[in-house]
């Protein structure tokens, strides 16, 4: 599903060059639900952006959902994203002028579905994420954070993408809403076989994901280091996870 080999991404800041990603090699099978963890500034968002076609690697090869992303133009990437990736962010970023249902319909404007069909699929997606029907016509401002994140997840799945990427989707939620969102992502993974890559600081994610990748200073931790990092997360949680990292 996701093949990254020797991917690097550098940023210039004044005279310095920051290696946000340094020769990262990563394989994620289709249908997996994995987490990316690491300290702030370790390159998690950068990696997520590259494998979702938002950003482009400076070096290395990126292939996602059968498409080689290296070398695609900004517009080609946009078209590819619209078809293959569902995005969820920490701040739900719904259009404040559109109702919940209209927000979910938004990505379908890029398809050639008819208006009623778009509407039907948007409602279906909202049902899948468990938003109450009477909330469908509410503007985002009238919804709670958890509800808004559900709407954002519905928007991410409405195009039936192969891959869902979520950058700290629970970062702005209380514990209960955060659990619900993680449970929902897990359900999407199990029942709809979506590949999900989750960036998070939240140790509770361990209960749901099948694997954890640790980033530090732009590099993936491997072997013993990775195991140790996972154990460290487990300890903060006090509960064994469903499965260990590689």
């Amino acid at each position: 599903m996701i093949h990254l080999s020797n991917v690097s991404r550098h940023f210039r800041r004044g005279p310095d060059v920051i290696k946000a990603l340094d020769r990262v090699t990563l394989e994620i099978q289709a249908g997996r639900f994995v987490a990316l963890m690491g300290p702030s500034g370790s390159g998690k968002s950068t990696l997520l952006n590259i494998l979702s076609g938002i950003d482009r690697a400076d070096e290395g090869e990126v292939e996602v959902a059968g498409q080689r992303l290296t070398g695609l133009s900004e517009d080609e990437l946009a078209v590819w994203r619209a078809r293959h990736v569902g995005l969820v962010f920490q701040f739900y970023n719904l259009m404040p002028v559109l109702s919940a249902c209209e927000n979910v319909e938004l990505p379908l404007l890029l398809t050639d579905l008819s208006r009623p069909e778009r509407r039907r699929r948007a409602e279906l997606a909202l049902e899948v994420v468990g938003l109450m029907r009477e909330r469908f016509e509410h503007l985002p401002g009238a919804l709670s954070g958890g509800e808004q994140q559900r709407v954002a997840i519905a928007r991410a799945i409405v195009t039936d993408p192969d891959l869902i990427v979520a950058d700290e989707p629970t970062g702005d939620l209380d514990a209960r809403s955060a659990d619900q969102v993680l449970a929902l992502l897990s359900e999407l993974n199990r029942e709809f076989e979506k590949t999900i890559v989750l960036v998070t600081h939240d140790p509770r994610a361990l209960r749901w994901v099948q694997a954890i990748y640790h980033l530090d200073k732009g590099s993936l931790l491997e072997g013993v280091e990775a195991t140790r990092a996972t154990q460290a997360v487990e300890q903060t949680l006090g509960v064994p996870p469903r499965s260990a990292a590689r």
């Binding site: 938002i54 900004e74 517009d75 990736v85 259009m95 404040p96 559109l98 890029l110 928007r155």
Partner: protein, 390 residues
């Protein structure tokens, strides 16, 4: 939901700002449409005055110099001319010095032949010849002073030391007659002036009519040749060119007004561009999100530009049709004579073409004001846009 819903909702997001921006565009386009009507208003007046078979002879030294009255007899003898009349400024004011309007003494018996295109009623022409104190008055002047046919009015001359009582025997009727003129008999003036021990045996200008427009140039040439090297050389010019030179001073002013109008539009472009870029900055997060969702740059540009264009064209259309309506209303008011203070304002009409031009201009305002901020937001790479807002 479709793209239009999105554009509409975004426009309603900050109603006050949308309304104020649209209002500034409305006002500027209103102004431009009103100003655009000026040149064509002048042209309309002047086309109406130019009959094509008439021309004017005046002293070569300038129109304020007089010619001997005898010149008229010589001109009448020139082959090709069918009628001629003296036409001398009386400079009369009615009641108060501010009530100044164009009044002229003419040879009463020729009026019908010189200005057949005015379509003066035969009764008025007959009465004009019959009564020595008769006057024919333009319809606009009639309305301005609330005069009727049959009224007696007194004008005090600013050229001669006399004051004359007139009876209005007829109108230079709408729409073909000269709206402003007040014409009366030269002999009536002559009597009054002679009583003061002076003589008015002069002609300020002389109107000549020919049978066919093609006769105008040769007859003009013959007349000027006739008086060449005399004490009073003449210069002939067509009616059209006469009014053109008269109005060229006005057209200078018109150009200034036009320039001011367009500068206002330029200012509005800046204001709109500023509003537009503020609105786009506020929505940076949403725009970044749209990009992330896979909306291409052209679609984002289109969405943002559509907003500004809708605003500009909406505001512009109100302004253009508003100018059309308001000036039409002024013209209607002017026609009833209820508001003489309007004066020539009622002569200017915004044509449908001006409305089209006004709306076209507002389209341009929208494009110029919207394209830079919209393109700036649209072309920013998605990763950068996301990073700036999250």
């Amino acid at each position: 939901m479709g793209y239009l819903t999105l554009v509409r909702r975004n426009l309603r997001r900050n109603r006050l700002r949308t309304a104020l921006t649209a209002a500034s565009i409305t006002l500027s386009i209103f102004l431009v449409c009103a100003v655009l009507s000026l040149p064509s208003g002048f042209t309309a007046i002047h086309d109406r005055l130019a009959a094509g078979t008439r021309f004017l002879v005046h002293n070569k030294a300038g129109i304020t110099y007089l010619m001997p009255y005898g010149s008229l007899q010589q001109i009448r003898a020139v082959p090709g001319g069918t009628a001629a009349t003296s036409f001398s400024r009386f400079g009369g004011v009615y009641d108060e010095p501010k009530n100044l309007f164009p009044n002229f003494s003419v040879d009463a018996e020729t009026v019908g032949d010189i200005w057949p295109d005015f379509q003066i009623s035969p009764q008025a022409i007959a009465d004009f010849r019959r009564y020595r104190d008769a006057a024919l008055v333009g319809y606009q002047t009639m309305r301005t002073f609330h005069w009727k046919v049959g009224d007696r009015v007194t004008l005090r001359s600013t050229v001669w030391p006399v004051q004359l009582d007139f009876r209005i025997v007829g109108e230079l009727p709408e729409p073909h007659g000269n709206p402003m003129w007040f014409l009366f008999s030269r002999t009536y003036l002559e009597e009054a002036v002679r009583a003061k021990g002076l003589s008015a045996e002069q002609a300020g200008m002389i109107w000549v009519r020919v049978a066919d427009p093609a006769d105008v140039p040769p007859v003009m040439r013959r007349i000027d040749d006739l008086f060449r090297n005399s004490d009073a050389e003449t210069a002939s010019e067509t009616e059209k060119s006469f009014f053109e030179s008269f109005m060229s001073s006005l057209s200078g002013l018109t150009n200034v007004i036009l320039a001011v109008g367009f500068l206002v539009v330029v200012a509005v472009v800046f204001i709109t561009a500023n509003t537009c870029s503020m609105a786009i900055r506020e929505r940076a997060a949403e725009i970044a999100m749209l990009k992330a969702l896979g909306f291409r740059r052209s679609v984002i540009l289109g969405l943002l530009l559509a907003e500004t264009l809708a605003l500009a064209i909406g505001g512009g259309a109100v302004g253009a049709f508003g100018a059309y309506g308001v000036l039409k209303l002024l013209a209607a008011l002017g026609a009833t004579g209820a508001r003489p203070g309007l004066g020539p304002l009622s002569m200017f009409l915004v044509t449908p073409w001006h409305v089209v031009e006004g709306i076209g201009l507002s389209l341009l305002v929208g494009v110029v004001a919207g394209v830079f901020p919209s393109w700036g937001a649209a072309r920013k790479p998605v990763a950068e846009a996301l990073r700036e807002v999250f």
